[in-house]
Subunit: 525 residues, 2 copies
Amino acid sequence: MAAEQDPEGLAAARPLLTDFYQATMALGYWRAGRARDVADFELFFRRCPFGSAFTLAAGLRDCVRFLRAFRLRDADVQFLASVLPPDTDPAFFKHLRTLDCSEVTVRALPEGSLAFPGVPLLQVSGPLLVVQLLETPLLCLVGYASLVATNAARLRLIAGPEKRLLEMGLRRAQGPDGGLTASTYSYLGGFDSSSNVLAGQLRGVPVAGTLAHSFVTSFTGSEVPPDPMLAPASGEGPGVDLTANTKMWLERVCAILGLGVQEPHPGERTAFVAYALAFPQAFQGLLDSYNVRRSGLPNFLAVALALGELGYRAVGVRLDSGDLLQQAQEIRGVFRTIAAQFQVPWLESVPIAVSNNVDEKELTRLSQEGSEVNVIGIGTSVVTCPQQPSLGCVYKLVSVGGQPRMKLTEDPEKQTLPGNKVAFRLLGSDGSLLMDLLQLAEELPPQAGQELRVWPRGAQEPCTVRPAHLCEPLPSLAESRALAQLSLSRLSPEHRRLQSPARYQVALSEKLHALVDSFHVEGLP
Amino acid sequence: MAAEQDPEGLAAARPLLTDFYQATMALGYWRAGRARDVADFELFFRRCPFGSAFTLAAGLRDCVRFLRAFRLRDADVQFLASVLPPDTDPAFFKHLRTLDCSEVTVRALPEGSLAFPGVPLLQVSGPLLVVQLLETPLLCLVGYASLVATNAARLRLIAGPEKRLLEMGLRRAQGPDGGLTASTYSYLGGFDSSSNVLAGQLRGVPVAGTLAHSFVTSFTGSEVPPDPMLAPASGEGPGVDLTANTKMWLERVCAILGLGVQEPHPGERTAFVAYALAFPQAFQGLLDSYNVRRSGLPNFLAVALALGELGYRAVGVRLDSGDLLQQAQEIRGVFRTIAAQFQVPWLESVPIAVSNNVDEKELTRLSQEGSEVNVIGIGTSVVTCPQQPSLGCVYKLVSVGGQPRMKLTEDPEKQTLPGNKVAFRLLGSDGSLLMDLLQLAEELPPQAGQELRVWPRGAQEPCTVRPAHLCEPLPSLAESRALAQLSLSRLSPEHRRLQSPARYQVALSEKLHALVDSFHVEGLP
């Protein structure tokens, strides 16, 4: 039944997808009579990933789906009873069975917003026992989603707006749902499409793909298609034998390229013809199963030209090994030569797709001025975020029963900002980001055009700022993606840099600063 | 229904969890009349991760579950129809609807086995169209599982057999199932337990946990437990007011430690009492919410001693910041002092648990001779495998219709080994590993005690080897875990090293070597 109600079933987290200590603490709160105390938690991160000056907030839709469905089933409660002390009061388990999120309030940065250190991505309020149980699943749903969206945004910034970026990292992800999360949120971050079909089915991410070497090497050349005839694209006129026509074109192509007609691999050519018969409107060739120059390229050209006679246009070639940039330049040159020779101008601009462990450095190279690469498939580097494979979000208690709470600890970085807070994004008159301001919920909101005295985080002194605008943005996946691109466009050039020493400022209101100070001054009571 | 049949529902992959090119190739095979050609694929990796000399094979149980349930539903086929060309023959979609894995054969290294480069983890045979569709999900299910199991095994080798290792990385994983996979396979690799409750419920992984700072900071000290009375552990005699008794013990502890009785935080102490009332048999304290030495430790001792009077033994303390090793030594010293002072010897050996971004380097430090740390919680470093976040498994076609296939390419590392193969693990007379031997399925199996001429991979010359034993190991999760530990014990000391320049040898039979050679000699036809 639950699966019926949730069409994205597989992807949703379950209530027991949590750390065991949430359950032990739940019992502790319950035994102390505090299960229903009203508590406020904030979910935030302490540093932007990858040395970036920005992070994209993501995962909110998964959180909402999780919270809506949150309910411990009998089997869940039975399992908890089996791992908690045997003498635990049965009334506690009865209480667990009644829980849902109907009394939980969540405020969140819209999916695709820019997010900065210490500014909450989620603010979760509700009964202490319930909002404590939510910690781990919310961290799990937000952390990686935001990390991979940010990583994708960096790759988009490197590639520029023109290159088509295909995410193809499913096989390198942390299991099925790691892949689904990666595909969804790399699209949000600025990729054009994903190879992951499930992400298309469940999340509406555009899917794309070519063919693999196994398809090519599965053919020896002796295979005969059950029906080798192909009708013209217009639907008018007789069909032709594509195998025979390809052979004819191969001779002409080899003569121009100075190759013996025996050199291109017959199995590869048969594979290309088979693919063309299945996809006459979307023929593409994978060129490097045997030898690009002597086999893959002439075989592709022969099939593409035979299709061209029938009014079909090949949609691309793909390379998966060797020097991708250099080969793309050579292939484009051959396309131009052949296009001129046979007066088929469309051939000049057949897209060239490349893949093979493309990382930020290689992407920079492939995106350089004059590059003939059009489509770039990225797997491992986008999905695993090898530069920093986790964002390190935390979920901290900031108030109980309206009273602020603060973790002091001896590690200043691990200290929290107490109190129920509201964040404002201050914009300049040109719409550029000035800073994020955190203040207590009880304070009056800042006014556009009015000077404010604020305490930038980490600074010893306050400063003044006069925002021209205050912003609160909006959210489908496509809208969030648009928002992500808009968000990124609002960053100053120095904050857009991939290694940005310049940090975007996050500041505290006077009153919040004073509250933090009072915790420090009072110290231990 | 499907969810009912599969109690691990959420974790299983769906058929559409695949790359789109598998679907386009499926259409290509079908159009070429080759959907039912019998094909053999091998799933393997090219290099052990993290610079190790070994890899642990894992993920097989997920593959088996996936293969058993494999069937495209109407909604799946409809989605594929929506993304494939609109003029695709409807008979193709009818064919898809009939597919299952009843004609697919899988041979696999048992879960928990040692695996080496080029030696198949899975060998998958069956109708070409179906086994092609399986590529991405199988890679996704095996790659990360094996990576994280290997990572966990390295951490276990560093920690030695005595330390208890707790996996707690759910919040840093790639979404819900990334976390479930990580918890399951880090247990397989040698961890003792996981914080992930769902991994306990669905996979039988032992769960463990303590409490978080939010529990401690949620108390101010003014809270009064609804029932502060606790009966003795024996069940005999009157109950006592634990809050009052803790206060009394606090005075005695502070006097010995030279602290003012006002210094320890009253909220922290109230939290500890609340936790002790809920878990009298399993009381533990998180010491660093305010100040370990002046607050967390005396508060813990006061509660532990009050419990001790009633016959209960505290089960541990936890630190989550600062110099973990140094603090553990100091805490153990205080335990000894207090144990001697109040003649409570059990206090001396209360386990000390630590966490806080523990990586291989920090684990080495925490595991050094004389360390007083007993339990180590590891999250990010085990789950994200930051040293190398993907294993890079591949799935390659090795034969069709019994005829060997080979991808040559210009990149020697990407070349495949052709033909349907069998792998043997050759053991010396002492049970140590000699090498893995790959040969063609048609060859006679090697005999124990008989000299063999083989070609180690990468070598220019053959060598001879005389195995005393040939091994084929066995697989529940617990059995696989035992196998993993057994597997690791079979490695020579140089292959157990975390950065091992010595590679375990993988060799080819004469006949397989000759086949590879013939592909090279023939080159392009």
